[in-house]
Structures are given as structure tokens and as C-alpha cells.
């Protein structure tokens, strides 16, 4: 029993940094990211015996964490008001400051996206899901997935411009 726990800790030590990075991308706060991290690792330990060895272990664990983030989103979406789910902001400034920002700023900008846009943007831009796969995972239509992605991009551009302006003023 104790040796099993030691093994679990070794696995945790090996992958927790990468998985926490993923959790932070899908969460709106560090608390939420920790929730996903905890739930994800519990699932990993529980289903580790079902890992067949096909593909990398890291890829298998990563999929579990992404699915956990999706489940968390689905749980949460029922308790959100319309205002929290969507955003009507229209942004036109095309200048980009992404090159000048560090990872922390980028992460903050992603975390500030409305939850549905954040999910779609993460799944599409960073995980490489298709719109069809996103629609199935988030229980929305493909057209909604497309429009959410477009809105997420517009918001990101706008926020990055603002962040960049702050950096320029600081210089």
C-alpha cells in the first residue's frame, strides 16, 4: 500500500508541472486549476492499469486532464448566468503585442476569456481539435464553436493590445 503511494508520488512529480500548465490554461483561476489537477491525477491513478502502452504515457495523461477540464466546464456551465457565458465585445484594433509579452501575461489573458470561449480556443488552437470534435465535447453546435473561436480571438487581440500599451508606457 505504501509502495503504491510512493509510485504514485513519483508519477505525480514527473508530470505535475506539465499538467498544471494545462490546467492553468483551461481554468479561470489557480484555485480552479488546482481542482482540475487534483481530479485529473485521481483519475490517472485510478485508471492507470487500463493504459495499454500504445502511444506515450504523457499523451495518455494529457488527454485525461483535457477531458477533466471539459467535464469541469460542463458541470460549471449549468450554474452560470448568460452574462458569464458570453461576451458581446467587438474589437477592431489589429495591432499585436504578443511578441513582447511573457508567458505569465499570455496565460492571464487566456484565463480572462469567458469560459466558453476559453474552452474553444484551448481545444482548437492549442490541442488541435476540429470544430466537430469541439462541438461534441462541449455539447454545442459546430457553428457555435466557430463563432466562439472568432470571438475569443477578437478578445485576445484586444486584451493583448491593452497589455502591450501598458508595457510601452512602463518603458
Amino acid at each position: 500500500m505504501q509502495s503504491r503511494k510512493v509510485d504514485q508520488y513519483h508519477l505525480y512529480a514527473m508530470y505535475s508541472r506539465k499538467m498544471y500548465g494545462i490546467c492553468l490554461r483551461y481554468a479561470a483561476s489557480t484555485d480552479e486549476a488546482q481542482d482540475i489537477l487534483q481530479e485529473g491525477f485521481i483519475k490517472v491513478f485510478k485508471h492507470l492499469s487500463s493504459y495499454s502502452g500504445k502511444g506515450s504515457l504523457e499523451g495518455w495523461i494529457k488527454r485525461i486532464f483535457i477531458n477533466t477540464a471539459i467535464e469541469k466546464y460542463r458541470e460549471r456551465i449549468y450554474h452560470l448566468s448568460v452574462d458569464e457565458v458570453g461576451d458581446n465585445g467587438e474589437f477592431v484594433n489589429e495591432n499585436m503585442g504578443v511578441e513582447a509579452l511573457n508567458v505569465r501575461d499570455i496565460l492571464t489573458v487566456v484565463q480572462q476569456l469567458p469560459v466558453q470561449y476559453r474552452m474553444v480556443f484551448n481545444l482548437y488552437a492549442l490541442e488541435g481539435y476540429s470544430h466537430k470534435e469541439i462541438a461534441e465535447a462541449l455539447d454545442i453546435s459546430e457553428s457555435t464553436a466557430r463563432s466562439n473561436l472568432a470571438r475569443a480571438r477578437r478578445i485576445l487581440k484586444h486584451k493583448l493590445n491593452k497589455e502591450f500599451e501598458v508595457i510601452l508606457q512602463a518603458i
Binding site: T30, L37, L156
Partner: protein, 449 residues
């Protein structure tokens, strides 16, 4: 700007991002994996039910063994009820008998040996060893049941019985208890019964003042409902005054959520997904007892008084809601539980009709829950309530009138109150806490052995 550019830049920055999780993260994971899994909770319930069953069987076995001992005692005295000569017993006060001495207040206590021809029954009651402890009341009652003195007109009742018994052994109270118990339920130590209860249900709100969540005045927007419960019970007589009741029941609770307008869509809601057969982003209604997730693809809801209905802003795209026909104003939540009550009953009055006080606890397991349109709970459900606890505990109390129908059959009429001692909604789902309660009139019949 190329839309792919922003994706690529974010991917470059965030893909493969590594961040040290907080130290306490492993501690909470370690703690969580050490606990039994959620699935283990179900066996806990059954273990609890099994414990109650074991308790019931154990008490019954003890009682049975005890009665057996009483029976053996009776056999050892080698007396037979039928053969016991009744004339050996002294007459009660006021009874005229030329052949037997009359007992007066100043007379010396009559003992078995003074009578000269002691009957086994008289010797049994006169033996001080049998009258020492209240526990012996079992033996006495058993003996009384073997010898139905009252029925045969030998033993007077009430004050006359006390006066008759006082000089004999001084254990009047015990004998009265025994005599009174005799005849209430035909001297049955074990009874099985069933009950049906019409039930009035509502809930108490605690936590935030008036349980306001997003300024929703739940108190004025929800109403009680009438439901019913049924159950099977076992009654084990622990003493003449105390009875243990345990069993299993099926209980309905819930409430009516009013001022929710529903509109009949001519076809199906725009977000209905024909592949899954479900509505994408179904509407939700916030209530004090969980959040309702609506599932009927033909119905669109709107709150007429507050902001309880959550709707995805794409829910009715392309539909003129004003043109829809309003059909009902309100929905009914019903929660169905299987419960295991363990209740103690205290006999306040043992007459022809017994009056008992009862109190105890019940563990209940949520079997399912449904939401119905309007008040009609017989139609098809339109959704489910989320956030309800699977296991709940409640306190039970009330009165019980036991009305003997025949020697073994008893009719029970029991005004009963029940209130949850744990909030029905899981932590974190709502701002305040709702404790459902119910008042019921349990009507049932039990058969004693």
C-alpha cells in the same frame, strides 16, 4: 491580420508550459486517494441498513431468549393454568366470600404459606426474588399472560387492583405495568406492520437571510406540496413502556416553484440536437432545493417574478417568443427516497387505546427525482433537479394511537413530523441551506406474534 497567426503565437508561448503546482496540491491529492471512492458510499448505506437489521434481529433474539427463560421458569414450577384452583386466591377488596378471609387495611400481609393451599400462581407472584427488579416485569407479564386473571374476573383493575396487590408484595407498580400491558397488543413482543401516509411537504431555509440568492426571494416564490409515503415496520417491545420500531419506507418530498411561465414551442427548441435527442444548453431554473435542468424540447421557460431561469442567449434564435402559447405557470419538484427509520415509542397511556410518543432518526437514500409541469405529477417529467445529496438524515417525531382490532391486529393512527438534519442540497451549489420537512398522518395496521 491572419487569424492563424494569433493561434500560432499562443501555441508557441503556452504549448509545453510547465508550472510548479502549489505544495499543498499533492497533499490534497494524497488525501483524496486515501479516502474510499464515491462508489463506496452506496455500500455504506447498505452496511447501515444491515446494521439496523442486525440490531432488530439481535433485540428480537434477546427478547425471545428471555421469554424462553420465563417459559422454563414456569415449567419448573410445574403448574398449569387450567389446573390452578382459583379458590386459592384471596378475593379482592369489596368481593364477598364466606369461605375466604377478607383482606382489610390493618390485616397482616397475606402470603402464600398463610393461605394454606398455595397455588403455583400465587407462589409465583409472592416470591420476593421475582419482584426485586423492574426487569422481572417480563417474567411477571409472561406469567400474567399464562394466567389471564383479569379476564377471568379474579383480579380487579385500577385502584382496586392496587389495593388488592399492595399487602401482598409491594411491587404494585410493576404488576400494574404488566397488567396494563396485557391486552394492549395482545401481549405481542414482535409485530409487523405497514403504513400509508398522506404528507404535507415544505422546507426551512437557513444561511443567507431569506435564502436570497442573486436577490431571488425564494420564500415567496415556492410553495408546499402534498405527497405520500408508504413503509413496512417491525415493532419490538423492549419493555412494557418502550418499543423499538424499525423498517424500510418509500418517501416522496418536494415543492412547487411558482411564477415560472412555460411556452409551448410549435416544433422543437432551436438548440435541440436531433443526433443526441437532447437540447444543447438546456434551460435551468434556480430553486432553493437545487437547480432544475429542463429537458423537454418543446417547452421554453421564463421567470415572471425574478431571475431564476437561466437561458443560453442562443436558445431561441430565430424564434419569436411572444408568439408562443403560454401553457402553465410553475413546476413541481419531487424527490423520491428509500428510507430506514429507527424510532423509539414510549407508551404514555396503556388503555383500550394506547397512546405513544415516538422519536428517532431516519437515513434516506435518493432513488430519483423528477420535475413536472404545473401541479400534475402523474404526467411525464420535464426535467431533473441537480445538486441534491444522495444520502440524507432526518429526525422523526410524533404521536401514535394504537387501536386494537383483534387479539393480534392493531390499527395505528400516527400524526408524524419529519425534518432533514442535513441540507438537501450539496455544499457549494447554493448560497443558503434548505432543510425539507414533512407532516404526515401515518395510518397502518400491524400484526403481532
Amino acid at each position: 491580420m491572419d487569424q492563424q497567426y494569433i493561434d500560432r503565437k499562443f501555441r508557441e508561448k503556452l504549448d509545453g508550459l510547465e508550472v510548479n503546482p502549489p505544495v499543498e496540491a499533492w497533499l490534497s491529492i494524497s488525501e483524496a486517494i486515501s479516502k474510499p471512492s464515491r462508489k463506496g458510499a452506496v455500500p455504506v448505506f447498505f452496511r447501515m441498513a444491515a446494521a439496523v437489521a442486525v440490531l432488530v434481529v439481535s433485540l428480537f433474539s434477546l427478547n425471545f431468549l428471555f421469554l424462553n427463560r420465563a417459559g422454563q421458569d414456569a415449567e419448573l414450577t410445574d403448574w398449569s393454568v387450567q389446573d390452578a384452583p382459583l379458590y386459592d386466591l384471596p378475593p379482592g377488596p369489596g368481593e364477598e366470600s364466606a369461605e375466604s378471609p377478607t383482606i382489610t387495611d390493618d390485616a397482616a400481609p397475606v402470603t402464600a404459606t398463610q393461605i394454606g393451599q398455595p397455588s403455583p400462581a400465587r407462589a409465583f407472584f409472592s416470591d420476593p426474588a421475582r419482584m426485586i427488579s423492574r426487569d422481572n416485569v417480563y417474567l411477571q407479564r409472561t406469567a400474567l399472560s399464562f394466567l389471564p386473571l383479569r379476564d377471568r374476573g379474579v383480579v380487579p383493575t385500577g385502584d382496586a387492583f392496587e389495593a388488592w396487590n399492595e399487602p401482598m408484595n409491594g411491587s404494585t407498580d410493576q404488576l400494574i405495568l404488566a397488567a396494563e400491558t396485557d391486552g394492549i397488543r395482545g401481549n405481542n413482543n414482535l409485530s409487523f406492520g405497514a403504513h400509508f401516509s398522506p404528507q404535507y411537504n415544505y422546507r426551512i431555509l437557513r444561511g443567507v437571510s431569506d435564502m436570497s440568492f442573486r436577490d431571488i426571494p425564494f420564500q415567496s416564490l415556492e410553495e408546499r406540496i402534498m405527497t405520500y409515503s408508504v413503509g413496512l415496520n417491525t415493532f419490538i417491545e423492549l419493555s412494557p413502556r418502550w418499543t423499538l420500531q424499525a423498517g424500510v419506507g418509500y418517501m416522496n418530498m418536494g415543492q412547487y416553484v411558482k411564477d415560472i411561465a412555460s411556452y409551448q414551442h410549435p416544433s422543437r427548441l432551436p438548440l435541440y440536437n436531433s443526433n443526441t435527442g437532447q437540447v444543447n444548453h438546456p434551460q435551468s431554473i434556480i430553486t432553493s432545493q437545487g437547480n432544475i435542468r429542463l429537458a423537454d424540447p418543446h417547452l421554453y421557460f421564463a421567470d415572471k417574478q425574478s431571475y431564476r431561469v437561466l437561458t443560453n442567449r442562443h436558445a431561441m434564435e430565430g424564434t419569436d417568443v411572444q408568439s408562443l402559447t403560454e401553457s402553465q405557470e410553475g413546476v413541481t419538484q419531487v424527490f423520491r427516497f428509500v428510507e430506514v427509520p429507527v424510532v423509539f415509542r414510549y407508551a404514555v397511556f396503556n388503555g383500550d387505546v394506547g397512546l405513544r410518543l415516538k422519536g428517532g432518526l431516519a437515513a434516506s437514500y435518493l432513488l430519483n427525482n423528477d420535475v413536472f409541469l404545473g401541479h400534475d405529477v402523474m404526467q411525464n417529467p420535464i426535467g431533473k433537479t441537480t445538486g441534491i445529496r444522495q444520502f440524507n438524515f432526518s429526525a422523526v417525531g410524533g404521536f401514535a394511537m394504537d387501536i386494537p382490532l383483534t387479539g393480534n391486529l392493531t390499527f395505528h393512527l400516527e400524526p408524524t413530523g419529519q425534518i432533514f438534519i442535513s441540507p438537501i442540497v450539496r455544499e457549494g451549489v447554493m448560497t443558503g441551506h434548505a432543510y425539507p420537512y414533512g407532516f404526515s398522518l401515518q395510518t397502518g395496521i400491524s400484526y403481532g406474534f
